[in-house]
């Protein structure tokens, strides 16, 4: 074998090896999606969405309260996190070029890597310990604390995409800075910010760890923020680690419901951001 042939062989070998990386990454994904869909679809029915969990041994029952609970938790979290996160993002984009800005950007970036379970402990101390009871409020606060840093960074990126000429045109017409920021820059970036919000909400809806000891769980319907509440993710966890075959099936079905919810939010975000990019072009 000549040296050139050998070198071509080595090239081919590493091309194949790196291609194996693609296969190794996609196999678990394919397996997971297929099994969640195939195992989960069997248990899907209208009553699965609308009824309370059934006790062991009883047939039927659903995760209706978990779906409502997840929406309640995400709603509380959004009410707290959206203004702060978006505001911080606008701050970073508009006034974040100095030392304070880069410090805040750095802290936001580092905070987005903080384990969610740790944030759960914080929410426990701030709310559960003071109110002496587990509550949707505590769970919502935990999710909100997780949402703010990521929301700030993604909002900043979308606001920075707004062409400088737009802002300059507005300022040249004598519009004050704050009105320019609010009515020109933010309105232009609105699609992107909504994308960021949808992604943050999707992530929060899939969180389990910080809810285990903040919003806990609930066998019944609950809409009160000061009461413990069920959530889809905690229900999946409890069903999965239970010893009952029947509950394992419910875990798969609930996982399918959660996957559909998260997938829908991500799909919306994708569609919106595609429109946004095309609009900018």
């Amino acid at each position: 074998m000549t040296s050139l042939q050998w070198r071509r062989f080595v090239d081919l070998f590493w091309t194949a090896a790196s291609g194996t990386g693609v296969v190794l990454a996609l196999v678990p994904l394919a397996s997971l999606l297929w099994l969640v869909i195939s195992h989960g679809a069997a248990g899907l029915s209208w009553s699965f969405f609308t009824s309370l969990p059934a006790p062991v041994g009883e047939s039927g029952g659903g995760v209706g309260n978990g779906i409502v609970g997840t929406l309640l938790l995400v709603g509380i979290a959004s009410a707290m996190a959206l203004p702060v996160g978006i505001g911080a993002g606008v701050f970073l984009a508009e006034k974040g070029d100095g030392k304070a800005g880069s410090a805040i950007r750095f802290v936001a970036e580092v905070l987005s890597g903080v384990p969610s379970i740790v944030v759960g402990i914080v929410a426990y101390g701030l709310v559960v310990e003071r109110m002496k009871r587990f509550s949707a409020l505590a769970g919502g606060l935990a999710l909100a604390l997780l949402m703010v840093p990521t929301l700030a960074r993604s909002t900043e990126e979308f606001v920075r995409l707004v062409p400088g000429a737009l802002r300059e045109a507005s300022l040249a017409l004598g519009v004050p800075k704050w009105r320019t920021s609010l009515l020109i820059v933010l309105r232009t970036a609105a699609g992107g910010i909504i994308t960021a919000v949808l992604l943050a909400v999707a992530r929060a809806a899939g969180e389990t760890a910080p809810l285990l000891f903040t919003s806990l769980n609930n066998q019944y319907w609950n809409l009160r923020p000061d009461q413990p509440t069920a959530s889809l993710t905690v229900q999946i966890f409890n069903y999965a680690i239970s010893p009952y075959e029947d509950w394992h099936n419910k875990a798969w079905t609930a996982a399918l419901v959660l996957l559909l919810l998260v997938g829908l939010l991500n799909l919306l975000a994708r569609l919106l951001s595609r429109n946004q990019m095309e609009g900018a072009r």
Binding site: R7, W14, T15, S18, G19, G21, V22, L24, A25, L26, L29, S31, L32, L33, L35, V36, G87, V90, F91, L92, E94, K95, G101, I104, V107, V110, G113, V114, P115, I117, V118, G120, I121, V122, G125, V148, P149, G174, V175, P176, K177, W178, R179, A202, G206, T208, A209, L212, F213, T233, I236, F237, A240, I241, H248, W252, L258, L259, V262, N266
Partner: protein, 327 residues
């Protein structure tokens, strides 16, 4: 500029009066933004302060060193040692990084350098999907799909071929360090892969073109120009992945076996920092027990913060280098 409009009688106020530059409005807007921006720092401070106060009693009662290096965990007898959890966290995260880094760097190289261009978008989309799946669903899949597969096929195979190593001895139950490490590998793969793809984009094209023009094969061009240039960035990506692996809770809790002991064998059940917090926090009754769990949280917070800060600094240095190179 707008003419200064007069408000005295007889002069009509300008229809654009509401658009006049108003220093008050700007000041309020700017102050408001600063408050929101500062809130990020407040949140960081709040997390640290809250973990500090909650874990306080544990450090005081148990002593810092004897808590961190104690290996007994028995809440009934008020014995709390963090070592089994720190060990389990480190072992599972190490497995995850060792498995995920080669796979995701291979994937990134294939997508951005070696493979057909048509694959880029679909595979990048698949990686995004993988990143968006909630961790409790990974746990469900791990528990009912991966654990049986490990028990039936992978662990017997490893024991037969590499059984002379203490890592692969002992009973094979599926649940344990190996299962947790592998599910973590799947979960951190999107992080490492997508950051690595971004890093590869920063490699100046002329470098690679130069190597190719001199007759290098694609792989030679990659080892000679692309990889040396991208190495700090790939290292940063691995650190980010490691940080995610250390703090990942649900999937690990469901497959690690939840036994607070230290085993040399990767087949043995263990425990990790986030997993013990997830399992025991809601039911912890003793004040010391709660404080000890919060102390574990503080340890976890400390490790991940340091790792993430390092990764950020590395990646920032890489992207700054690009900007300097472009000028």
């Amino acid at each position: 500029m707008l003419p200064p409009s007069e408000t005295s009688a007889g002069v009509r106020p300008s229809p654009l009066a509401h658009l006049r530059p108003s220093p008050e409005g700007d000041r309020v807007w700017s102050a408001g933004l600063t408050v929101f921006g500062g809130s990020v720092l407040v949140i960081a401070g709040l997390i640290l302060a809250e973990l500090g106060t909650q874990s306080g009693p544990a450090w005081k009662k148990l002593g810092v060193l004897s808590f961190l290096f104690g290996s007994a965990w028995d809440p009934v007898q008020d014995k709390f040692g963090a070592l089994p959890f720190i060990y389990g966290t480190l072992v599972t995260s190490a497995i995850a990084v060792l498995v995920a880094v080669p796979v995701s760097v291979g994937l990134a190289l294939f997508l951005s350098e070696m493979g057909p261009k048509q694959l880029r978008r679909p595979v990048a989309f698949a990686i995004e999907v993988l990143a968006a799946i909630p961790s409790v669903i990974f746990g469900l899949w791990g528990l009912f799909v991966m654990v049986p597969w490990l028990r039936e096929y992978v662990e017997p195979f490893l024991q037969k071929t590499l059984g002379f190593l203490p890592l692969f001895q002992g009973p094979m139950i599926g649940l344990g360090y190996l299962a947790a490490g592998l599910i973590l590998a799947v979960m951190i793969l999107p992080t490492i892969a997508s950051v690595t793809i971004e890093v590869l984009k920063t490699v100046p094209l002329p470098l690679k073109e130069g190597a190719l023009a001199l007759g290098a094969t694609r792989w030679e061009a990659i080892t000679m120009t692309v990889l040396p240039y991208a190495r700090p960035g790939i290292f940063g990506a691995a650190l980010l992945g490691l940080g995610r692996a250390l703090g990942e809770t649900m999937a690990v809790t469901m497959v690690i076996g939840n036994s607070p002991e230290i085993h040399a064998s990767l087949f043995a059940p263990g425990y990790s920092l986030p997993a013990v917090i997830a399992n025991e926090f809601a039911e912890a009754t003793g004040a010391v027990h709660v404080a000890a769990l919060a102390a574990l949280g503080l340890v976890l917070f400390g490790i991940t913060i340091i790792l993430n800060a390092l990764a950020q600094l590395l990646l920032q240095a890489v992207s700054k280098g690009v900007r300097r190179g472009a000028q």
